[in-house]
């Protein structure tokens, strides 16, 4: 069964190579991508089942034993992340397939879109199964370089402007990560995460703190944690709708996943947990306040994305098995729901020609189905029972109440407030876009019959609201309405169905997350699995710089 592990990375990479080998033959490229992504969905589902049934899977690449070779480790968390991200990648791919088929792909150089998309997937999967800090770095780089290409797709002026910010910020975080790896290697003589669990614990606490913070800053930029989240609302919304959806769903979560690994595998006795809780609270608050002041739906969603990262950091900061379990469930929920919302906004953009709320209106009558597709994930993200958002938040708050420290109580309050504000911001967007009389039609109908006082007051308040809110900096001019292909509806409906499934199967899923959280809280288990009986701690002295490891080679494409 171990042979299945590297396939999660190899299938998308091979698919990308194949798709790149047939440029211009769009049908074939789409077929290859579809097959590759579907098989990864099946594969990751299988892995999830296997890992849950029989424990952690460890693959030693090339047969080199663990401390020397590269280990790929799939535990319950990795398997769940793999499955959820594979499903999301497939859903978004179907959506972009529908969009591309309808538009004739005039705006996007399609011969690189599908291969890049697959490489992005390979990077995400590689980061999830990395059992080695340097391999995690390579996974990050694969997905980042693919995301650079996707975010500047087509090379229009506004995408280049947004892309420059994104690329530079990501580069800085990558360099920080690499420097942190260098420092950790200098301090411990290894980059194998299982071995690091043992050796970092032997380091003096000041050095642990230094290494921990360096890694946290590098991952915090990627996870878009306050105050390192400034880049996100500026860069994500300019990309094409499917790209924004997949970025919002997956990329920040890879950062959160890396933080989970850092806090559980590398620094289980970390002294920064309190700091994490404070940061979680600030992320929650600052993010949602940004969302409330936005007029553009894509920007609004980007700010809610930042805000909800706070919930995940909240769970990590509590640093016990139940907290990790709640975070894991919340990540799975948030990946699906955030992606679905962005897909629904993609549909709205096509229907209304813009994502600015000032230009949208009256869509309830024209497109009632889109209204439903936006409404369900909206309630879900806002944490209305019985949806999965409610279950995730309830899980977090229950754990916090058990922890019973002042920070935890504060965070329960902030979390509940943010949940309400999320609902407020999204519901306002929904009402303005769907329930309002159409913007242009408003003026004409007023001309036809004398407007009632209420209608006038409503209109004035609307105007005042629009003046207070911020529109997107690079708002595209209102495009004409385009016909929406069926496949886009099917893909979005499918994602809504997945998000509802997370609610229906919340019982087994939360139980799974609980088991995963327990594994995370006991890093010793993984150490035994990866390194065997000999934990490799005694042979070399930590802090001695050079571990006399003889590694054959590090394959950058691994």
């Amino acid at each position: 069964m171990i042979q299945l592990v590297p396939l999660a990375v190899l299938i998308p990479l091979a698919g990308a190579a194949l798709a790149l080998a047939v440029p211009g033959r769009r049908r074939l490229q789409q077929g290859i991508t579809l097959v590759a992504l579907s098989s990864v969905v099946v594969l990751s589902g299988t892995l999830m089942y296997l890992v849950d049934a029989s424990g952690i899977l460890v693959m030693e690449v090339g047969g080199w034993a663990a401390p020397f070779g590269i280990a790929l480790v799939v535990d319950r968390v990795s398997a769940l992340m793999l499955t959820v991200s594979a499903v999301v990648l497939l859903g978004v791919f179907l959506f972009s397939l529908g969009q591309g088929l309808a538009d004739g792909d005039e705006d996007t150089p399609v011969s690189i879109y599908y291969p890049t998309y697959l490489v992005l997937g390979a990077g995400v999967f590689n980061a999830f199964i990395a059992g080695d800090l340097f391999n995690l770095y390579v996974g990050f780089e694969i997905l980042l370089v693919a995301s650079y290409v996707l975010i500047t797709l087509g090379g229009t002026a506004q995408r280049i402007r947004a892309g420059v910010t994104y690329v530079i910020v990501s580069l800085v975080s990558s360099v920080l990560f690499l420097a942190a790896i260098g420092l950790i290697y200098g301090a411990t003589g290894t980059v194998n995460m299982a071995q690091l669990t043992v050796r970092i614990a032997e380091l003096p606490s000041e050095m642990q703190l230094l290494l921990n913070l360096t890694l946290l800053i590098a991952f915090g930029i990627k996870a878009a944690v306050f105050p390192l989240a400034f880049w996100l609302p500026d860069s994500y919304p300019t990309a094409p709708a499917p790209v924004t959806a997949v970025f919002a769903g997956l990329l920040t979560k890879v950062g959160v996943y890396a933080i989970i690994r850092t806090q559980t595998k590398l620094f289980p006795d970390s002294s920064v947990d309190r700091l994490l809780l404070i940061i979680a609270g600030l992320t929650l608050l600052v993010g949602i306040l940004g969302a409330v002041s936005q007029l553009d739906i894509k920007r609004l969603l980007s700010f809610t994305l930042i805000s909800h990262i706070g919930y995940m950091i909240f769970g990590i900061g509590m640093a016990n098995a139940a907290g990790f379990a709640a975070t894991i469930y919340y990540i799975a929920h948030h990946i699906v729901v955030q992606t679905t919302l962005f897909l629904a906004v993609g549909l709205m953009e096509r229907q209304g020609g813009t994502t600015s709320l000032s230009g949208l209106g009256g869509m309830m009558r024209k497109a009632p189905f889109i209204a439903i597709l936006f409404f369900i994930p909206m309630l879900n993200l806002g944490g209305i029972p019985p949806f999965s958002g409610f279950i995730g938040k309830l899980g977090l708050f229950t754990v916090a109440a058990d922890v019973a420290s002042p920070e935890a109580y504060w965070l329960i309050g902030i979390g509940a407030l943010v949940s309400l504000l999320t609902l407020y911001a999204l519901a306002r967007a929904w009402v303005l876009a769907f329930w309002r009389t159409p913007a242009q039609a408003g003026a004409e109908s007023k001309h036809a019959k004398p407007a009632t006082t209420e209608a006038l007051m409503l209109r004035e308040r609307e105007q005042a609201l629009f003046e207070r809110l911020q529109d997107a900096p690079d708002a595209q001019p209102q495009a004409e309405q385009k016909e929406i292909p069926k496949l886009m509806f099917v893909a979005t409906t499918g994602m809504v169905a997945v998000s509802v499934a997370l609610t229906i199967f919340a019982g087994p899923l939360y139980a799974y997350a609980t088991r995963a959280g327990e594994t995370l809280a006991e890093p010793g288990l993984v150490v035994e699995q990866v390194l065997g009986d000999d934990d490799g701690s005694g042979s070399e002295s930590p802090g001695g710089g050079s571990g006399r490891t003889t590694l054959e080679e590090v394959d950058p494409d691994e």
């Binding site: 780089e141 290697y185 500026d234 003026a443 590694l551 590090v554």
Partner: protein, 169 residues
């Protein structure tokens, strides 16, 4: 662990220059800054590898004399990645320069940031040709307040004040 002071000094200087260059608005300097910082990091990993010894080739020397090959593998990988990213950055800079060809290769201003910085009220409207065409159908008496309402800000205001049209909501 001993480190040659010269290499440490070189690393520090490279980091300092690289960070300084990365703070510049010019994209080309930014690229140079990134290259410096990237190579300084490679140097950092190299310094972290401990004492220097013989080439780590099996059979040539005993294990005790060898230098640690793992950081060298890291550096090689990092160099390849830096190389790829630099190529992408160059393409990005070229594209940015083409788009702004009569300006230069600087980071473009975020127009809404400028707007926030320079105006008191946010004008959430922009008057397009379509609006101007539409407004001809209405008389000014229908919207007595509309002419005065428009905030005197941005390019939209100058267009709008001439026609006294209602800005598109």
């Amino acid at each position: 662990m001993t480190m040659p002071l010269v290499l440490v000094a070189v690393m520090v200087v490279m980091y300092a220059c690289g960070v300084y260059l990365m703070l510049d608005r010019s994209l080309t300097r930014l690229l140079l800054g990134f290259l410096l910082v990237g190579n300084a990091t490679n140097l950092l990993i190299f310094l972290m590898s401990g004492g220097f010894g013989a080439a780590p080739i099996y059979g040539d020397s005993s294990a005790e004399e060898m230098s640690d090959p793992l950081p060298q593998a890291f550096i090689l990988t990092a160099i390849v990645i830096t190389f790829g990213v630099s190529a992408f950055l160059l393409a990005l800079i070229y594209r940015s320069w083409r788009l702004a060809h009569d300006h230069d290769d600087r980071v473009q201003d975020d127009e809404s940031d400028l707007e926030i910085a320079t105006t008191r009220a946010l004008a959430a409207t922009e008057v397009t040709d379509e609006d101007l065409a539409e407004t001809l159908e209405y008389d000014d008496e229908d919207y007595p307040e509309s002419g005065a309402d428009i905030a005197p800000s941005g390019s939209a205001a100058s267009d709008a004040s001439e026609t006294a049209g209602e800005p598109k909501p």
